[in-house]
Symmetry: D3
Subunit: 264 residues, 6 copies
């Protein structure tokens, strides 16, 4: 951690929440060319892209709205007492600019940016974007070693294709990621799966690969502590990504133990 307060979020006790440029969590906004970039350990990154949606568009506006609303959040978790931004040097690295009229070109742009982050040893936290965002992100950060995944969502996103064989959609990213060796299916757990279904193709395929799928009914029956204990056991201590997908996607890469530079 740095000695000064450069990486400390602006407090609303000093500057009103509605004032100032709305960076994620009121952290400093840097680019890969900025002076103190080498001190950065974690980066919040926006991926304003929703070309994978087969349905209602709009998640491309997610990063800007999430930045705006994040200015309402205070810096300490009152239950755990943890103040996350005192544990690592965090910044807002801005958005990866997609190409909204070309899906493949956008996937390349996103993968390339995350590849740069990997090379610099910066752990990313992503705000999307529709769920297809996860695929190029994983390509950029998991080329060498497959990751585990804890995935909170209504849907598995494990389908094969839509509209007669089209394979890159918001319903297919984790099928592709497992096929490409970016995720280790034996260390993948999906929590909260629910809602009306097309069929059981996604669940059948996932379970055949070893993915653990925990429906919302099981979560309600067993309770959050039991389910989360199982999830931690499944992913173990190797590098793991965590995703929570409501309207827009938030994806965090959890570093493996010992990874933080500031701890080194």
């Amino acid at each position: 951690m740095s000695d000064d307060d450069f990486f400390t979020p602006v407090s609303a006790l000093e500057m009103p929440r509605f004032a100032g440029m709305p960076s994620f969590m009121r952290l400093p906004h840097l680019t890969l060319d900025s002076p103190r970039i080498d001190e950065v350990e974690m980066a919040l990154v926006g991926v304003p892209w929703d070309a994978g949606t087969t349905n209602r568009p709009g998640p491309r506006h997610g990063p800007r709205q999430l930045r705006d609303l994040s200015t309402m959040i205070r810096a300490m978790n009152p239950v755990t007492g943890v103040a996350p931004f005192t544990l690592a040097n965090c910044v807002d690295l801005g958005d990866v600019g997609p190409n909204p009229i070309d899906l493949q070109d956008s996937m390349d742009r996103i993968e390339n940016f995350y590849d740069l982050l990997t090379k610099r040893g910066i752990t990313p936290m992503t705000a999307g974007g529709d769920h297809l965002v996860s695929l190029p992100v994983l390509r950029g950060i998991a080329r060498e070693t497959p990751l585990g995944m804890i995935h909170f969502d209504a849907h598995t996103d494990l389908f094969d294709s839509y509209f007669g064989g089209f394979r890159y959609t918001h319903g297919t990213p984790f099928r592709r990621a497992i096929e490409e060796g970016l995720l280790d299916p034996g260390r993948v757990v999906q929590i909260g799966i629910r809602g009306t279904a097309y069929n059981t193709e996604d669940v059948d395929w996932g379970e055949a690969q070893g993915v653990r799928i925990i429906r919302i009914e099981e979560l309600f029956d067993r309770g959050i502590p039991a389910v989360m204990a199982e999830a931690r056991e499944i992913v173990g201590t190797q590098p793991t990504t965590v995703l929570s997908t409501s309207i827009s996607l938030i994806q965090v890469m959890l570093p493996a133990p010992g990874r933080p530079k500031s701890a080194g």
Copy 2:
């Protein structure tokens, strides 16, 4: 059931949800004159009528909005594994056109349409509309034999009259239905009754007729399985109607065992 896929909802794996005419559940839209009407077993019907409201209007727009939003729903229930539209030939039969400036004329129009459905042996599922919609629907389907009813609502709708003796409102349909012999009060259960009250006139009258009224506090205390088991016991195996009333009313006529034509 028909051998072809005529009665199968359009899947969003083939046609995006935002495309196509928004029929209920993306089922085929037929009228009583359409070629394959004789194969129809269940019909979704809109009743865009809210002349019984004593308060805020708008449920007349319910059927169109419910159609639009129903295009978001997939065809299989993931918990039970049931895909309802594979069990009976279902269609959207459009709306009953009400007369928005004459309450009695509208009640006649609705009753007449449901009488036609009854004569053709088509089991209706209704989207309203305010709660008064239930009265002319029951007149059309329960003239010969009183029905049982499972009713999910905040209010009993068992009041006698409003504004000095006016007897046809959204707060009175089931009082009228019991008086007219359309509902068998000993087979009526109302679940979830709650909210501020005028007085106890509605509950007192209903319980005197034998209606079982389960307030929300009792539901929370005993749990959903116990309450639903009691509800099933109350209505038994004779024909029963099920209503869920939030903003707009959804009413389904449950056929008695052995009724579906396709089972014959």
Copy 3:
């Protein structure tokens, strides 16, 4: 209680909810000069003022919106069977007019109005407004004897100051009230405290004064009955104020036993 129905809310069985001047709960709207003011036991008062907010403004519009929405509420609680407005003569006394461009002048105007109510023996119920509203209200009603308080909120509002020493904000009213002897900290309980935190300064100070702070996690663990039993024990039978603060603040002064004039 009066013998006629002057203090009875208008019923929606007689006058539609959307009709008529929207006074609180459809009670009569009086001023301190009105003929029957001497019969009034409780008064609903609006304080349309939000100058203490350090964040998003708007609660100044609270009283008018709460009046409008209160016309949707019926007069009897169906669980307890209590019809509150049959127990005391209640009216809507309108708004205290604040000075939206001067915080201190507004505090004086509010204090003075509540001082008048105290002198007339009218128990107030307040609709704000941001949380700073509570301070001048307490100055007006608790000058002689400190009150107990049951406070439902996400935040303690026990901070010392914002923006470099400014002491009158929506985050500081109960610190000031305890300092000024308006609240008896040993009879104050705060229920539901939650959400991200700046630090622990507010909680530390409050607990040091003897305030009982019950976080939302404790409420979920122990249940509402146990927590409310503790809260009643804490405040005892001496005069107590109850606050529920969501967007706008609602504050009720609970009279001590034997206080209502109609009981005398």
Copy 4:
């Protein structure tokens, strides 16, 4: 005019616009039983009723919303220099309570209230409500002498019937009023008629009775001063009603010369 400021609207230089009970124009709210009712010359009246609409409902909420928004208006017209409320004693007389589930009963209630105003010599200004509101208002104020009318609207509201012969709708009030002798068609002018049409039945009937119909194209061609000069000439100096109908209806009864009590 009264000598004191009882009939003067509250100024926002003294009391903020968002504070206080939202009466029309911040005038005093009286009822027909109030002490100073005999001094009243003009009354603003709400008629929250939309049972005549054949289309989207909602104008029943018009009076409450118009009251709320009227608190934004200042008391002087800067172009003419006229401050209307210094010319006559004006008050808000509240709403006529309609019966939202019975069209004829509502028409009777409205007519009876306006008949009372006529007998007391109070000139009404009405905020509706849908356009059918005009018919019972005219029955209440024009039984003895037919009125002239200046009507600003997109539609003539001169149709005969809807839905197979139903004669009381928002599209028929002025046909009924002319048939009933409440309007003198030779002193009726309708300005701004526009929009897609069913047919020409309304216009043909109106012009056959002598109504002057000025379409929006003619207004644009000739200009406002020329059209308004013609309108004034058509209605002359006998009692005339003026209506402007956008979402909700505003209707003013213009007194004949010499009518104001305060001028007597």
Copy 5:
């Protein structure tokens, strides 16, 4: 024209506007397999597709919303006296189902559908969708003979490419259409061009091809009659398409003189 009223829009004098399936203009909804399809002269078609937008998405929802709102429109133009649906047999042919995750596949699907319409001699009217919709539509209807065009818009949509050479966007369709020989630039007029600009590349290229570009300032200076007279002269009497693009695109193919089957 047909002798019966099959092709007549439902009137709101008979069926309320909020009732019934919301087809365009309340016309009959047919498909290319429907019994009376051979009598159809004009078809309203939805193209719910916005993959060409470089900015805010959403026009994919345009056709459904336009259908819903079109139920508010009456069948006669009161200025001209023309009732369009009495002049040709018109229907709603539903939507062309796009592939929201593949731009080229969607362009093929759209072109193929319009090619079918051309072969059947049905003149289409299109509701989009973003402006790229026009390109596959033109490919489907103008393969043999280039069309003239009257285009009402803020932008020329004559740019070459975005994001480094990508040529199919909502800003480029008419550049492509001219390059592909689908539009005759000498018979193209663009009216109302306005708003901030990237540069002059689009205008320069268009004018070099012979396109007549009329900015909004020129329209205001010369007036609508003069500009429209010039526009009619530019397109002449050969087949021409007319587009009006606000949020969603509406495109009509004007048949050349003598084209209507019903006139044959």
Copy 6:
């Protein structure tokens, strides 16, 4: 002007409008400590402050919303052909942080920031905020020489006080500015004054000082070119500020001829 493209707004032909941090006009976001601050000639500054409003609050959210929406604007004016950001080095300098609970402290903070800009020779363009924002801005930039002003607004904001003598509100800034010698009333013109009025005190006082007040009726009668020619003549060639106030305030300081550093 700088030789590189550092001060060039990001083009939506390269980066989609919805992507990237939303600075004003997509200009670089600098602070007074940034490396290239000495090259800056004009700065866009946000003042998120609305403590002067006597009515509805909210303009404190103006700067953030204006930044967001400014990302929709292209860099060239198509009528004049001017691309403003090629004429001077412009940046977004972020917000002046106000103190939302203390009016005088906020005025000091704003004045101090603008005083810094003046000392550095940076010409500011301000986005507010309510109209009181103008007073501390003028104190910061016009201490030495009174400015002329072209003011587009509905109101003169020349009142003396509200609520019994309170002198700092959104209705009084220019009265204060003239009294303090910050504006030269003989070089002030207010255009578009309209709407209902309290009285004529503001206009009378302003005209007595020599302010030229052009009501909206005069603007419509004489036309924009004539009025703007008069306005230019009034302010002459000395330093002048231009304000346009709709919901939020935009204020530009027009440099006197020869002022731009890049021209030097």
